[in-house]
């Protein structure tokens, strides 16, 4: 049997491809990834009540992508996760910096299953896709759909993409009567996205994208002791993704940036960089670094204020405070025939002082976590 030069095969594939738009897969691919997520415990000295043991999550992901006929592809994604640990319920802003956090007990346990089913039709200069999503936890369920399109322009040097997605979510907090929580809440999310991908030269491409998301309904956290957020939120993002190939290094540089703004008053910057290096034909190593920073929401306060009416917006959620974070990680993959074994490790650290607009006082619930993953891809 004639041996195919991989470079020739790749160039041939490139000829047949839209430059950068999604292309119909030529064979089926099965992917599996198993992950362990561990949050660092909270210092006991900062806890007024509750447990300091935070979340541990075990997650398994499964994905099957396959060509369907001449012009279609199908994509089935299933994930399952089991989580346990304690989460912050509120904060007390006392004179002393310590002992301000009110945590739940360490008995929170939940399971989540998510299924996404997608289809895509490929034409010579365009493709159109749809996605149906379903997610279910003990206290939370979500149903959604999305549609998207991609169009090649300018001799396939440019690709325009656009998409819309909708999600209908429902929460039924556990122990609602016992703790005086709302019994049921609904949230709807509509999101529009558009992008432009441009080949700059033989070794570099740039994606520029915008998105606009509107969330409506229960946006407050019903598990917190005092958390009242507006019932509508509009979000905007502007993203850049740049890819540069270095032939002499046999590696690709990924540089990403996202600007985010919402009408809760949060502005954030996210920058990511990765160096995807091939060593020989089989081994790939990709160290990566991500920096994130956000300003606090207009109604964020370090401590819960019980003198405010319940209808007035306030939240002491650390995720609405001004802070920054870094994530450092590496992904390694090794090809064995039709198999590609992969593993990754990421370490996340968040601090008030890392942010571009830090809050006056560091929230004690800001967290650090580690994430280990291992899995495989199999060409079928």
């Amino acid at each position: 049997m004639k041996k195919i030069n991989p470079l020739v095969a790749l160039t041939g594939a490139a000829l047949a491809l839209p430059a950068i738009a999604a292309d119909q897969p030529t064979s089926a691919k099965l992917s599996f990834l198993s992950s362990t997520y561990h949050e660092k415990d909270i210092k006991n000295s900062t806890i007024l009540s509750g447990a300091g043991k935070r979340y541990d999550i075990e997650k398994n992901q499964f994905r099957l992508v396959t060509p369907l006929g001449e012009n279609w592809s199908g994509d089935l994604y299933v994930s399952q996760e089991a989580m346990s640990g304690a989460s912050p319920w509120g904060t007390f802003d006392g004179a002393d910096d310590e002992s301000s956090l009110i945590m739940s007990g360490a008995t929170i346990r939940d399971k989540r299953t998510q299924v996404n089913l997608s289809g895509r039709k490929y034409n010579e200069d365009s493709s159109y896709g749809f996605t149906l999503t379903r997610s279910k936890e003990d206290d939370y369920s979500a149903k959604g759909f999305g549609v998207s399109g991609e169009w090649d322009l300018n001799n396939k040097l440019s690709t325009v993409s656009a998409g819309f997605s909708f999600s209908d979510d429902e929460i039924k907090p556990v122990d609602a009567l016992k703790f005086g929580r709302i019994e049921k809440g609904k949230k709807q999310t509509r999101s529009f996205a558009a992008g432009w991908t441009q080949i700059i030269n033989q070794n570099s491409i740039l994606f520029t994208g915008i998105s606009h998301t509107v969330k409506q309904g229960l946006l407050s956290d019903p598990y917190k002791l005092r958390d009242t957020r507006p019932s509508k939120k509009a979000e905007w993002t502007l993203s850049f993704k740049y890819r540069q190939y270095f032939e002499n290094r046999n590696a690709a540089l990924h540089a990403d940036y996202r600007l985010y703004n919402d009408d809760f008053g949060v502005t954030s910057h996210t920058a990511g960089i990765a160096w995807k290096k091939s060593i020989g034909d089989k081994l790939k190593i990709a160290p990566r670094f991500r920096y994130y920073s956000q300003s606090e929401a207009d109604f964020y306060a370090f401590g819960d204020n019980y003198s405010l009416a319940k209808t007035e917006a306030q939240s002491s959620d650390h995720r609405l405070s001004g802070f920054g974070s870094t994530t450092t990680g590496v992904q390694i993959s090794y090809e064995l025939g039709k198999w590609s074994m992969k593993m990754s490790f990421d370490r996340y650290s968040s601090k008030n002082s890392l942010g571009h607009a830090e809050s006056e006082k560091e929230h004690p619930a800001l967290l650090d976590f580690t994430l280990w993953s291992a899995g495989f891809d199999l060409e079928i």
Binding site: T11, L15, L33, R134, Q198, W236, Y245, S325
Partner: protein
């Protein structure tokens, strides 16, 4: 803010629309897996959900996911 984002998009489009022509047979490097705009979809979905549950900002990443009660 909205105006700023729209203006930045126009600026980005302006700079990228004047790029040199790259013939199809010169796109071998661009077709490599490590040069794709979207990376490993399973890995992307995992990281997107993790960050979504820890930070206020979300979206603009590219991978689609179902809603969760984590934020």
């Amino acid at each position: 803010m909205k105006l700023l984002i729209i203006k930045l998009c126009f600026v980005a489009s302006f700079f990228t629309s004047g790029c040199s022509s790259v013939e199809p047979w010169e796109r071998g490097n661009l077709a490599k897996p490590e040069m794709q705009i979207s990376g490993d979809a399973v890995d992307d979905l995992l990281l997107e959900q993790v960050f979504y549950s820890k930070e206020a900002a979300s979206g603009g990443i590219g991978a689609a996911g179902g809603g969760c009660g984590c934020n």
